[in-house]
Symmetry: C2
Subunit: 122 residues, 2 copies
């Protein structure tokens, strides 16, 4: 059986354009045989950001700890632990860590896009 703990996760820097001070660990994904979606842990260090982008697939996000903001289609809102965020396909979005705090969250994403292409980081 496959059980991994978040405390043991090996994060890799997010290299996508626009990412700053941001790292990710795929907790369950394609390499484990997961056919439909991947659970990733993302850590954004203080003042860091995920890329501001949109794509043809959705995210479902759960904030684990820390503080920051969520940008969505021109609007920005504060995030706190326990927040669950739905990012539908086709909307510009970005996560930002507060200046004094990292932001740690789970991001669930499909393993392939609506056009059938493999999604990086799954």
């Amino acid at each position: 059986m496959l059980i991994r703990n978040l405390a043991d996760a090996q994060h890799q820097p997010v290299t996508a354009s626009g990412a700053e001070k941001c790292r990710m660990a795929v907790m369950v994904g394609k390499d484990d045989g997961a056919p439909n979606f991947a659970v990733r842990e993302i850590v954004v260090d203080p003042s860091g950001v995920t890329p501001r982008h949109s794509h043809d697939y959705e995210h479902e996000v759960v904030v684990l700890d820390g503080a920051g903001t969520f940008f969505f289609d021109g609007e920005e809102r504060a995030l706190k632990p326990g927040d669950v965020v739905y990012v539908p396909a086709g909307h510009e979005h970005q996560f930002r860590a507060a200046a004094q705090s990292p932001l740690r969250f789970l991001c669930v994403t499909p393993t392939s896009s609506n056009c059938g292409e493999a999604i990086p980081g799954t």
Copy 2:
């Protein structure tokens, strides 16, 4: 934008056969337009269990807090916060809360099965 907090979740009793002292809240699912998968929070009260069953779709689970065990194909292992569990399709599985502690976890599941049927609780 859709942001909900786990602290505000309205849990419903899990009525599937074999479930005991178990309740669930769909945090993001079909009713929100999610096309592929749903994030649910499941709380198993002390000594409670989820159904022991298998099905033709997978789960990806993240333990938030509490204590309990995970049964998988005849084997049982202790669970702790931060554990991420992959339950592939077609394997018998069950989550059990400890006698003195609830077990609270996120369970991500597809919104439709491999046969195209809607999955309950998504």
